[in-house]
Each structure stands twice: as structure tokens, then as C-alpha cells.
């Protein structure tokens, strides 16, 4: 039974891939896919572990800058750049996580945001000699074209990004079904009972933290490779809430939430900033509205409806047979 569901997921994914290529402009599709990878980490932290992190851009910047440093100064293979980004993500989130996950939820949120802003200043001013400050690092011409999937070409990058997003989606789905996923949910609900059961709160949280933020760092590295350019702008204070907003928009803790949220968010950003010009106003009010309306988000509201329709269709099919 579960095999069938997996198989359907794959078919659906590739149908989406083909559809996205036909109907959506390529930059938009790329943006959406990377953004949904970016949001997955935040979604996992918020929905499964109960950590709200306003500092996700910090880890995004870590991944992006690690990849950028490698590609600008040392090498030219984009795949290796991504790898460097992931390694940096693991290292930083592990080092920071050992300190952060001990904190109470409210302090955790505040500290993460402070980290994001500090990384912004470090990249913009303190390391300006290496990062070229606000001008950013440009290395698009440094990139080698690679065999099989050439990451320097947007249309092939899209296929690669889609495969990565799908793999991550499957990975988080697997985590949900595993004992570790159950532990995370348990930590969110009641830490003391988890302790009584003999699990270490600290370890569960740390591992979840590292997994989520490595995902974010990977998204950062992918941004770097895709754009061929990194500037401190990606972690600027005005953008710290983006992943949280998208997570809430899509629906906290749902599997498809990040994807739906990213599509809506990027779409709204593209369309509205052209028509309306005042982006913050819209997103602020949408956020407050969703929170007041029951914080289920778009997918969280739609999913039960879909299920109902699917059940009805299935029921009718059963009758016909």
C-alpha cells in the first residue's frame, strides 16, 4: 500500500515538473523550488519541534557564503560548491545549536534573529575585504559546466533543484514516520515525559536543529550557484521573517505547505510588487489575517477539502464497480 503511495508521489512530482516548465517562466520556477527548500527547514523546526526561528537567513547566508567563497577563491565545480555549503551548514548549525537549543522557546527565537543580523553586519562590514561588502561576490563566469546536469544553465539547474527538493521532501516524510520524528513531536508537546522515557531532550533538539538548518544552508548554496552572486542582502534584517511567513502561509507542519507557500509567496511578490508596489503592507496583513483566522495556512485549509473530495470520488468509483 505504501509502495503505491510513493509511486504516485513520484508520478505527481514529475507531472508537476513538466507542467512547471511549460506554464511558468523559468526564473520563477527556479525561485519557487529553491525557496521551498529554504522553507522546509523552518517548517520542520516550527511544525515538528516547536521551535520558531526568525533567524533562518543566518543559515541561508552560511550556506551561500561558504559556496561563494569556494567558487570565488578556490574552485569552479558547482557541485563541489554545494557540498561545501552543506558542510559549512552542518558545522555552523552544530556549533551554534549546542548553545541555542538549551534555551527556552522565546529566547531561542530572539537569539536566532540576533544571529541573522550579526551575520549580516559581519558579511557587510567586518569581512568586507573578503566578501566585497555590499557589492557582493560575482562568480558566474568562474563556474565550470558540468556533465549530465549542467548547473550553469537555468533549465538544467531547475531539473537538479527539483530532484533535490523532491529528495528532501521524501527525507522529511521518512523522518515523520520514523521514531526520531515521533520523538521530535513528543519534545514539542511535553519535554518532561520525553525525559521520563529515557530520551535526551537536548540530543533530539540538536539533531533536529542541525537537520533543519543544514537544509536551509543547502538552499543558500543553491541560491549562490543559481545566481552566481551572493551579497549580504540575503540576510538583511528586513528579510528575516520570510521563511516564517511562507511556512505560516503554506500551513505549519504540513508536508506540502512549504511548496504551496513558496508558490503563493513568490507569485504574490512578483505580481503585487509590479501592480501595487507596497509589498510589506500586503504580506503583513496577510500574515496577521492568517494568524487570526486560525493559523492553518493555505494548504492546512485546503488539504481536508481535497481529502473529502478524493474520498467521495473513490466512494463513487467503488459503487460503480
Amino acid at each position: 500500500m505504501s509502495f503505491v503511495r510513493w509511486w504516485w508521489g513520484l508520478v505527481l512530482a514529475f507531472a508537476l515538473l513538466a507542467l512547471a516548465r511549460v506554464f511558468l517562466p523559468l526564473p520563477f520556477a527556479n525561485e519557487v523550488v529553491i525557496f521551498s527548500i529554504y522553507t522546509m527547514g523552518c517548517n520542520y523546526l516550527l511544525g515538528r519541534v516547536g521551535f520558531i526561528s526568525f533567524g533562518q537567513p543566518a543559515y541561508l547566508a552560511v550556506g551561500a557564503y561558504a559556496a561563494a567563497f569556494y567558487l570565488f577563491y578556490f574552485g569552479s565545480n558547482p557541485y563541489f560548491g554545494l557540498l561545501v555549503g552543506i558542510v559549512a551548514g552542518v558545522a555552523v548549525s552544530f556549533a551554534v545549536g549546542t548553545l541555542f537549543v538549551r534555551l527556552r522557546g522565546d529566547y531561542f527565537a530572539l537569539v536566532n534573529l540576533a544571529l541573522a543580523v550579526i551575520i549580516f553586519y559581519v558579511m557587510q562590514k567586518m569581512l568586507a575585504g573578503i566578501t566585497h561588502g555590499d557589492n557582493g561576490l560575482w562568480f558566474l563566469t568562474n563556474l565550470d559546466s558540468t556533465p549530465i546536469l549542467d548547473l550553469t544553465r537555468p533549465e538544467q539547474f531547475f531539473i537538479f533543484a527539483f530532484i533535490v527538493a523532491f529528495a528532501l521532501w521524501a527525507f522529511f516524510k521518512y523522518l515523520d514516520d520514523s521514531i526520531f520524528g515521533a520523538c521530535c513531536l513528543a519534545v514539542k508537546t511535553n519535554e518532561d515525559k520525553v525525559n521520563f522515557l529515557g530520551y535526551s531532550n537536548f540530543k533530539i533538539r540538536l539533531v533536529a536543529f542541525v537537520i533543519a538548518n543544514t537544509t536551509t544552508a543547502l538552499a543558500g548554496a543553491m541560491y549562490a550557484v543559481y545566481l552566481g552572486f551572493v551579497s549580504p542582502e540575503i540576510t538583511s534584517p528586513a528579510r528575516t521573517a520570510d521563511p516564517v511567513v511562507v511556512t505560516i502561509l503554506g500551513g505549519v507542519g504540513t508536508l506540502y505547505g512549504p511548496l504551496v507557500g513558496s508558490i503563493v509567496y513568490t507569485g504574490m511578490k512578483d505580481v503585487l510588487s509590479k501592480v501595487f508596489g507596497n509589498w510589506e503592507l500586503v504580506i503583513g496583513f496577510v500574515l496577521v489575517f492568517i494568524m487570526l483566522a486560525g493559523e492553518k495556512g493555505i494548504w492546512g485549509t485546503l488539504a481536508p477539502l481535497f481529502k473529502k473530495v478524493a474520498l467521495r470520488v473513490a466512494g463513487k468509483a467503488g459503487d460503480g464497480r
Partner: protein, 289 residues
């Protein structure tokens, strides 16, 4: 570092700390009483600054502008409390944090709609300088420090000498008991929120002549406000006072030694303090509601 540079650095740090104090006291009070993290205080800060700019331009007196900023900041806080926060007091912390962030971003959008993107300059109300130990010091900075001191005394008197203040302090210990005594806690919440908004507006108005007023100004001080709150401990007014002046001095003196230290040194201090005391210097345990 010469003596003069050092003294002006100290004064600069004190005035910066005063601004931080005025901003974070609202956050701290709101957390203590209502158990919400009200990021929208940063919005009232920007609103206060913009009102100071507009009214100051209209009347020709920056002081009138600052007073108007306080009033409008408080009024904006009242409106937001009535429309948004009243509905979510019983929700958990992350929820209120996200919602207030939504209010903050939306508010920045409103500011952009009314005033546009161009940074606005505000004239310094007192341009005169005094000489302290051979160092030129702008009187305006001393005035800011004085106002912060007055506010601290005022808040202290309010919380310790009036019935409403005592009820607020009791509410930070145990809201249900206060409610059981027949006190309308929701009115206390409103009063606290408006005071917080007004103080944030005051901070914005006082800060306006020292910087360029632009829509992102609230987001720019965000990190510092957070660091102050974390170092001092959420919900503690004494902690807020100590940590805001600590951060102010670190920023000011740090930037004299090596410019990028201004942003990174407070962060390093925050990490150190969190290592030793995960709840900040004076942070209370999260009492049961």
C-alpha cells in the same frame, strides 16, 4: 584613545542606552504581564520618529513633534491592541511573536505608503554644546539621558505607588489571582500596551534628530533591542535598565576601538551571558498562567 574621545564615547553610549531602554521597557512590560513578545513596539518607534518629523516640520518645534510622536505611538498601540492582540492573549508565545511581526511588517508598509521611501532628516532641537573636562558634548544627548532617567523614575513610581501599577506588578506574578480579586485584567493589558507604545514612540522621537528617519529604521534596531532584552532577561525592568546601558556602552566604546565591534561585540557578550545564565541577567522563570 584620548581622554576626550573616551568621555564623548561614554556620553554617546549613555544616550544610546537611554534610547534602547525606552524601547525595550515596553517589550519587557508586555512580556511580564501578558506573556507576549510584542515586536510591533519597533513599529511605534518608527511611527514616533515619523510623526516627530512631520509635526516638527509643521509647527517648527521638534519638541512638539516628539510629544505628538508619543501620543500617536500610544494611539497606534491602542488600535493594534484592540484589533489584534485582544484576540490572541491566551495563545502561546511563538504565535504572538509571528502575529506581532506581521503587524510590524504591515506597519512598515503603511509608513511607506504615507511617507515614501526617502530618508527624512530632522533638525536637532538643541544644537548647543557644553564642555565637560575639555570635551565638547552636545546638550541634546544629555537631555536624552535625563528623559530616560525621568521615565525610569516615573515607571518605578507608577508600578510601586499607584493601584493600577501594583495590579500590573501582581499580574506579572499571577494573572488569575489578580482577576480573582475582581480587577479587570484586560484593562490592565490595554494600559500596559499603550504605555509601552507611547514609550517606544518617545524613543523614536528622541532618536529622530540623531539619525535619518527611514521606513526600515525599526528593523535596523531590532537586533540591538533583542540583545538588550536577552541580556537583561525578559520581563525584568531592572534587567532592562542594566543591559540597555551595558549594550549602549559596548556599542559606543567598541566602535571607538574597532568599528565593526559596534555590531558584533554586544552579540558576543550576549552569547557569553547566555552560556552562564540561559535566562539573561535578571530573567524570571516563566511563571504558570
Amino acid at each position: 584613545m584620548t581622554m576626550q574621545l573616551f568621555i564623548s564615547g561614554i556620553i554617546f553610549g549613555l544616550s544610546l542606552g537611554s534610547i534602547f531602554f525606552l524601547m525595550t521597557i515596553g517589550l519587557s512590560l508586555c512580556f511580564g504581564l501578558m506573556r507576549i513578545i510584542s515586536l510591533d513596539q519597533l513599529l511605534y518607534y518608527s511611527v514616533g520618529a515619523y510623526i516627530t518629523y512631520s509635526v516638527g516640520l509643521l509647527t517648527g518645534s521638534v519638541w512638539v513633534g516628539i510629544a505628538a510622536g508619543v501620543i500617536v505611538g500610544g494611539a497606534a498601540a491602542l488600535a493594534v491592541e484592540r484589533i489584534v492582540f485582544r484576540r490572541i492573549y491566551d495563545r502561546d508565545l511563538p504565535f504572538t511573536m509571528i502575529t506581532s511581526f506581521g503587524v510590524l511588517i504591515g506597519g512598515v508598509g503603511v509608513i511607506k505608503y504615507f511617507w515614501g521611501l526617502v530618508p527624512r532628516p530632522v533638525a536637532e532641537p538643541i544644537a548647543a554644546q557644553v564642555f565637560v573636562v575639555g570635551t565638547e558634548i552636545p546638550i541634546y544627548r544629555l537631555v536624552i539621558i535625563g528623559i530616560a532617567a525621568l521615565v525610569y523614575i516615573g515607571i518605578w513610581l507608577f508600578l510601586n505607588r499607584t493601584i493600577i501599577g501594583k495590579a500590573i506588578r501582581a499580574g506579572t506574578e499571577d494573572v488569575e489571582h489578580v482577576e480573582g480579586l475582581g480587577i479587570n485584567v484586560y484593562r490592565l493589558f490595554t494600559i500596559t500596551f499603550v504605555i509601552a507604545g507611547g514609550l517606544s514612540g518617545l524613543a523614536g522621537g528622541l532618536q529622530a534628530p540623531l539619525i535619518m528617519v527611514d521606513p526600515q529604521m525599526g528593523l535596523e534596531v531590532l537586533a540591538f533591542v533583542f540583545m538588550v532584552v536577552i541580556i537583561g532577561g525578559l520581563g525584568s525592568i531592572k534587567g532592562t535598565l542594566v543591559s540597555s546601558f551595558l549594550v549602549g556602552q559596548v556599542v559606543s566604546l567598541g566602535s571607538l576601538i574597532y568599528a565593526p565591534l559596534a555590531q558584533t561585540a554586544p552579540f558576543a557578550i550576549m552569547l557569553l551571558i547566555l552560556l552562564v545564565r540561559p535566562r539573561g541577567l535578571f530573567g524570571s522563570h516563566l511563571l504558570k498562567r
